[in-house]
Symmetry: C2
Subunit: 201 residues, 2 copies
């Protein structure tokens, strides 16, 4: 077997996806530990064990890394919530809403440091970015489906989704501020409040 | 009448409170028009028609001006909501909650540019500052009073207040993003949603 063929079978370099992931993990550790502002691309490259030139094969800037982490954060958050919902029987609407609340609280409590990193440059005037939140669509679809099935009564699912999402976000922010680690009691109380909001007239 | 006495009767300088107000109004115009970051203290002093040294009699820095505007914004917001609530008969709990929602939406829609100026440096990790929001206490007290009177059933007024406040905030953010100028339809829909959340079991 010629040497060149063996090299192709056992590549010395990592696959692109693994390399990209190394860079994202290195950046996450640094951003959480010392903030985005004071982290340099040199530090990210060193920690990820890649040359600075390699960094630029994957990302154009530090903000590009933050954007990639934000996309991944939102996708992971959604996946965790949707899989909790899908674990419920299709007609268990109470269970579905409770799953949304419970998984949402747990995911935010677990990853709030990463949350703060990826949303660190979100300011009050950036309303359009907030409006792009795909979780609002998921929640609105859940509320509309439960209403269509006759389990709930929600006149405006989009508005109710905004209230539930922002209500949950604010309640977890308060819990984090108070040092809460286990979100199960909050999940039970919030679910009760939300279920009252959607129950039939 | 001696000249010195006439001078005392007609002072050439404005009272301190008026001067301070001139500076705050000048700063507000500049901050809204061009942002806090690019506004200089020289510009604020020029627009307020005071010497730079006079500026420093009232404020230590630009951020000190922002803090004073923030305090005034919150106080004005609260006063507007509380006076709308107080205009309702004491036992009209539905009217009181509707007043909170309607006045809150109107006040935020009217002053959202100033809102964004005074909260421009609020980041996701500044949860403690958000926790100091006195409106949460007002809203929690309203929910507790209505529950005590037997009109509502709210197990945890503090948690319900967080959900209502953040829900309202998010709904108005969405409305601003969509270019809504008149908040009355939103107020009716949000009030209906909130009243369902607090109605007796």
């Amino acid at each position: 077997m010629p040497v060149i063929a063996r090299k192709a079978l056992k590549p010395r370099t990592k696959p692109a996806e693994v390399r990209r992931d190394d860079i994202l993990r290195a950046a996450t550790s640094l951003f959480v530990a010392k903030g985005v502002g004071t982290t340099t691309i040199d530090e990210i490259a060193t920690r990820a064990e890649v040359a600075k030139g390699t960094f630029y094969l994957y990302f154009t800037s530090k903000e590009d890394v933050v954007a990639a982490l934000r996309e991944r954060f939102v996708a992971g958050f959604r996946a965790r919530i949707l899989s909790a919902i899908e674990a419920c029987p299709p007609d268990d609407w109470t269970g579905r809403l409770k799953s949304f609340v419970g998984a949402g609280i747990a995911a935010y409590l677990d990853d709030h440091q990463l949350h703060d990193v990826v949303f660190h440059d979100h300011r009050p005037d950036q309303r359009r970015i907030k409006g792009d939140n795909p979780l609002l669509g998921d929640l609105s679809a859940l509320l509309a489906a439960g209403t269509k099935a006759g389990a709930w009564s929600v006149d405006d699912p989009d508005l109710a989704a905004i209230v539930l999402f922002n209500g949950l976000h604010g309640a977890v922010d308060h819990a984090i501020e108070c040092g809460v680690r286990d979100g199960s009691e909050l999940a039970a109380n919030l679910s009760a409040l939300f279920l009252r909001m959607v129950r039939p007239k």
